[in-house]
């Protein structure tokens, strides 16, 4: 493998990895506020992309369609939380897992009915002339995704550390009982977290669609890989989620590149799951620590 080829694999990996990162970030936000893992997270990515496509096809300018989609899906996240999560906050983990699994199935099927089975495209934000780095190329759209992800991470950090609401959210994640005693409205915190998480995942969906289209089934795999990425980086750690996502993407690309097998693509998905299992078995705290896995 030459250096240029290696670089190209890195770039491929970053392209898909950035969406894993945004999905993982979505998981982390919800987990931090509520201890719930939202199995339907990937569907918000999918909904973001498809909603943007619908708005754009209805005549909205691209920027409006994208921002509009993010807002709409953010609201959808809140609705989801109110309808499916809130009634079950006291019902135990098994119930919550099952509800989000059921929701994932329902949302995916609904998307298939609404938008049909075919994948659909969206035009890229600033054209698709690739940028050359040596012999390797990277798409401007990928740079957009990276830039937006960085902005989101920085914004989240500012939010958590500098604003009162952000500190309230952090307080809830450390000890929700104590936070409530201090006057924090837990239900608002949860609502906000779901909304933000859905919006961030939707942003990922909107930005990746110009590169790889969007279809009703894309969310399922993304959700799984996003979760693997979140665990890889340490569940609960936003920066870890981003690093985990990018790393997973790069590892997948390198698997295809480095393995001498020609049918390697099918095994590429196995990489994500193997990593997931390895981490769960060996070092559940992931690369960057994070919250303790077991609470007795």
């Amino acid at each position: 493998m030459t250096f240029d080829q290696f670089l190209q694999y890195i770039f491929s990996g970053i392209t898909t990895g950035s969406i894993y990162a945004l999905t993982a970030l979505g998981f982390t936000l919800i987990y931090n506020a509520t201890d719930i893992i939202n199995f339907a997270q990937g569907e918000f990515v999918m909904l973001g992309g498809l909603t943007a496509i619908s708005l754009y096809e209805a005549g909205a300018p691209l920027a409006v369609a994208c921002l509009g989609a993010v807002a709409i899906v953010g609201v959808a996240g809140i609705v989801f939380q109110q309808l499916a999560i809130r009634p079950l906050l006291k019902a135990g983990i098994l119930a919550q897992i099952i509800v989000t699994v059921g929701a994932s199935l329902a949302i995916r099927t609904a998307a298939m009915i609404i938008w049909g089975r075919e994948s659909r495209p969206l035009p890229p934000f600033t054209g698709d002339t690739p940028i050359k780095v040596g012999e390797a190329t990277i798409l401007p759209q990928t740079l957009w995704v990276l830039a937006v992800t960085l902005v989101i991470v920085v914004a989240l950090q500012l939010f958590y550390r500098r604003t009162l609401t952000g500190k309230a959210v952090r307080a809830c994640s450390v000890n929700s009982g104590a936070a409530r005693l201090m006057g924090v409205s837990y239900s608002w915190v949860v609502l906000l977290s779901f909304g933000m998480s859905a919006a961030i995942s939707a942003a990922g969906g909107v930005m990746i669609t110009p590169v790889s289209f969007m279809g009703y089934g894309y969310g399922a795999m993304l959700g799984l890989k996003g979760f693997a990425a979140a665990i890889l980086g340490g569940l609960g750690n936003p920066a870890g989620a981003v690093v985990g996502g990018l790393s997973l993407g790069v590892l997948e690309a390198l698997t295809i590149g480095a393995l001498p097998i020609e049918g390697a693509s099918g095994y590429k998905d196995a990489v994500a799951f193997l990593i997931l299992l390895l981490i769960l078995f060996a070092k559940p705290q992931g690369l960057f620590g994070g919250r303790a896995v077991e609470k007795v």
């Binding site: 893992i37 199995f39 309808l83 499916a84 009634p87 079950l88 019902a91 983990i93 098994l94 119930a95 897992i97 099952i98 509800v99 699994v101 059921g102 929701a103 994932s104 199935l105 329902a106 949302i107 995916r108 099927t109 609904a110 298939m112 009915i113 399922a220 799984l224 979760f227 693997a228 665990i231 049918g263 099918g266 095994y267 998905d269 196995a270 799951f273 193997l274 997931l276 299992l277 769960l280 078995f281 559940p284 896995v293 077991e294 007795v296």
Partner: protein, 335 residues
């Protein structure tokens, strides 16, 4: 005589169910309906095992399709490539499923909650990927055809009615085993570890061992179901053993009711009958499943099997305050 009557009374539900299940094929010659009933039987076997794992032991598996797949492909490969006797192939596949469950169960069942769910999901996905990629063994997405029917002592179980009785006969045996298990010492230690793993460990229950045990039993049930299925359809392909199927299995268990073994019966019947109603709206089936799951978790978390108890509670509440305590006095585990 009194002993016989009391035996019948104690096991009336089981006996009643067995009679209905076995008598069903006498009422129709329609091959299509017979096959739906038979598939209900194989589905029921898998759901029964999963109910033990999720309901009694309180674990979660989102990868159970993999065990059915192991049974199905084990039988398919052994009987078509090496002409192994189908019964032996079924037994060997079940053994393989149990072994895999044991090996994967030890590290996985140490996980809790979401990690456990994800771990089982990852396992299920890896098995699916292997089924598709190992073309030299499984023929990949093309699938394996020409799988023979089962037969024994001259009875051809390829015929719908005979197959129905075979499948449901085995399913009823599994049901009986499950019901007995729940009432036994093993069952009680499972319930204890479900309520509080730490407490039961402190009381000397070997929780790790028990959990793996239940996983292995559920894997064997699923594997046998998978084997029966392919010996009837004579064809197998990986598309039957996807994550969606695992999710539907878990959905079936929850909708039927986690707390009791009989939940598996209700769940299986409902989840197999519902798609028949939705034939015209094939695409909506999964949407209905997902929404039902959410609604059940919110409004009837005990599943269908708890309707009796919920109705009782409602009746009591409507009837005004009485001296009765709120809890249902009936023993758990069915009869």
């Amino acid at each position: 005589m009194a002993a016989v009557l009391s035996f019948l009374k104690r096991h009336s539900a089981f006996i009643g169910f067995a009679v209905v299940a076995m008598a069903a094929p006498l009422f129709t010659q329609n091959i299509y309906y017979l096959s739906v009933l038979a598939f209900m039987g194989t589905r029921f076997m898998i759901v029964l095992g999963l109910n033990l794992l999720m309901g009694q032991a309180g674990q979660i598996s989102l990868g159970h399709a993999a065990f059915a797949g192991i049974g199905a492909y084990g039988s398919a490969i052994l009987t078509t490539r090496w002409e192994v006797n189908p019964w032996a192939a079924m037994a060997l596949s079940a053994l393989l499923a149990a072994t895999v469950a044991g090996v994967i169960g030890v590290p996985t069942l140490k996980l809790k909650g979401h990690y456990l769910a994800m771990g089982t999901l990852g396992f299920g996905e890896i098995v699916y990927i292997l089924l598709v990629q190992f073309k030299w063994l499984t023929n990949g997405t093309d699938g394996i055809s020409g799988i023979p029917s089962l037969s024994l002592a001259g009875i051809d179980f390829g015929k719908p009615q005979a197959f129905h009785w075979l499948v449901w006969g085995v399913a009823l045996i599994m049901l009986r085993i499950s019901l007995n298990l729940v009432d036994s010492r093993v069952g009680r230690s499972l319930k204890a570890l479900h309520r509080s793993e730490a407490a039961s460990m402190s009381l000397g229950v070997n929780t790790a061992y028990r959990k793996v045990q239940v996983l292995m039993v559920s894997a064997v049930f699923a594997s046998i179901a998978g084997s029966f299925y392919v010996h009837y359809v004579h064809f197998v392909s990986p598309s039957s053993y996807t994550l969606t199927f695992s999710v539907i299995l878990a959905t079936t268990v929850v909708i039927g009711g986690l707390g009791r073994v009989w939940g598996a019966v209700w769940g299986s019947i409902l989840m197999m009958v519902l798609p028949e109603f939705l034939r015209q709206y094939q695409d909506y089936t999964n949407l209905v499943f997902g929404v039902m799951l959410i609604l059940i978790m919110i409004f009837l978390p005990g599943g269908i099997v708890s309707i009796g108890g919920a109705a009782d509670a409602l009746r009591r509440r409507i009837g005004g305050a009485s001296g009765r305590s709120g809890g249902d006095a009936a023993p758990e585990g069915g009869s």
